[in-house]
Subunit: 110 residues, 2 copies
DNA sequence: CATCCTTATCGTATATATACGATATACGAT
DNA sequence: ATCGTATATCGTATATATACGATAAGGATG
């Protein structure tokens, strides 16, 4: 179920927006922080740390997984999630690049 | 009409999520790019450049204004928008800081 | 095999976002 | 004052997001 891609906007604009959307909920920020802070991938522990139900956490994890920011592996009856550092680095770089590009265009205003 | 702030998450997590939400639509990315590229603040020109109706553009502008990324001034019958570079810089810095913090926690995984 | 534990998905209710046309507002010009 | 232009807001329809309980699925364990 890939994104619709409305073709009204460029792929770059779309993908930056998609990335931002993945980060646009505090629960997902919090999940990433917890995942990053643990040296072992957890899952049930994640639910325990979050002020949300198990199903809701699972849903947020799905969003993060679809955005590629998180990797999920099934490990027996448990699932093991961890940050995809490579993708996260790409994300950061995309954001920084966009800001820089925008900043370069800086001009007088109002 | 300030944000609800659910208090389930920290203020930092919430504000980063809010920022991401403001950037989570390609139209708003595009608007920021156009505003940044012009050395004069525009508005109707903005609508002309966007594949969206005037009212929809105005709505996106409102979101950007509420997020503080854009400044809008009424100038006669026209409105004059421009990027709030200071806020944009703050935003970039907040994002970069978060990524750095997260990266510091980097640990072994799966 | 029956059962337990863990996690994903389903069903559903509610809220928010998105888009557009229509209308209101605000000002400049005539 | 009237008209025209430019922009914001309203009304509304539709889509997506969010949250949770309930249920299914998958493997471990007795």
């Amino acid at each position: 179920m890939a994104k619709a891609q409305s073709d009204r906007f460029s792929t770059q604009q779309q993908s930056l927006a998609d990335l931002a959307k993945a980060l646009s909920h505090p629960a997902r920020i919090a999940i990433l922080e917890v995942l990053a802070a643990r040296n072992v991938c957890i899952c049930g522990e994640l639910v325990a740390e979050m002020p949300l139900s198990q199903s809701t956490v699972s849903q947020h994890l799905k969003v993060l997984k679809e955005a590629g920011l998180v990797i999920g592996e099934i490990d027996g009856p448990k699932s093991c999630y961890c940050v995809d550092w490579s993708k996260l680095a790409d994300a950061q770089s995309a954001i920084v690049t966009w800001f820089s590009k925008t900043d370069t265009l800086k001009a007088n205003c109002c």
